[in-house]
Symmetry: C2
Subunit: 248 residues, 2 copies
Amino acid sequence: MIVKSKVKYINSLGDKKLRDADGVFVAEGPKIINELLGESRAEAVEIFALKEWIDENGTTSAPVQEIDDIMLGRLSFLTTPNKVLGVFKIPQLPALTFKGQLTLVLDGIQDPGNLGTIIRCADWFGISQVVCSADCADVYNPKTVQSTMGSIARVNVYYEDLAQLLSHADVKVYATSLAGKDVFDIQRLNEGVIIIGNESKGIRESVVGLAHERITIPRIGKAESLNAAVATGIILSAICPFPSRSRS
Amino acid sequence: MIVKSKVKYINSLGDKKLRDADGVFVAEGPKIINELLGESRAEAVEIFALKEWIDENGTTSAPVQEIDDIMLGRLSFLTTPNKVLGVFKIPQLPALTFKGQLTLVLDGIQDPGNLGTIIRCADWFGISQVVCSADCADVYNPKTVQSTMGSIARVNVYYEDLAQLLSHADVKVYATSLAGKDVFDIQRLNEGVIIIGNESKGIRESVVGLAHERITIPRIGKAESLNAAVATGIILSAICPFPSRSRS
């Protein structure tokens, strides 16, 4: 049996202030919960699950409480709750360093779903470090967590003053823009910073001015712009180094 | 002054059956409305706009009715209504033909936002023909229209029985899959069909079996999959022919 105050507490974790105060966030659904439980970095505080999920997953390191559909509906942030919900500790991040790796920098990505999709995309292309401007959506917003599809367990997401951070960058900085060098003509990179901007406004002046090169996705048709997550996917697919081959 | 029955009618256009019955759909926001009004194919039935939009846009071919913020909020499908809303006729489509062009085929893309983002992406890469399976989201769902960001005015979207349609394909058919030929090793194409599948289930067996080649986006990191719109963007960026250059 879950007491009312616990339901209220979990519901309150939709609010960033309350997440930060306790250093915890909520994740949902078998796919994401299982990925988080499988990564040593993500520490579960409590898991609430339907009997079905418990039967399939056996024991976990965290306390699991069996609940029914009705209670899951009360706890869940999803339109269609999905078997299991967990409260996890927000992990401590290692120090941010640019040398020897690719870093994705996001300037003003405000849609939580887009942010999550971008993090998932970074994870696909082996990028483990994403830096957000202060006005980006919060990575622990339940919608962001959901749309990372578990990649939140592997990608370190930082919030920084981008102008200040990039003014000290010791690697090459690339800014995506509508007018720049064709990204397919750039050599694949083992190290560097790639900045993606807000969908409608692009990258702000104080940040774009710190880039060493502007890169663009060539357009064939007439759409004015691409969704920021789609643009990120294309840029990373063109730039990230595949271990097995070099690009001609 | 807008009568209650009109508000009720526009609200009802969130329902596919009612859109189909009258052959109309709703679009919102200056960007999308202006793109639709700029394309001869999209015929406006009625435009409802704040004075601000009317002052900026002058006359249009369709009747424009000035409304206030409160009325816009009543008509709008958006969380944040945006100056203008229009009712447009669903255009008649030319006959579907595969020869001489690239066609994007979508199998079971159920999220309206994802479908719209994919259509926007097709438009960016110059693809003007998208074929959906019957269980895809509806292209005239207000959320889909919104996320096309105006590309719905230029891309023809068909709904077909994919297995039947592709069994008669007279061009090469490529299916995206988690195990196939690296998409960056495929020659850029002037003609052909590219199938994108449902995010969690992929392309159904009856459809994937009709493809001549399977293609995949190489993975460096650990994410299990990519968002369907992101995957579409990467595939199209690798395959679509840029007029100015050939791929080495």
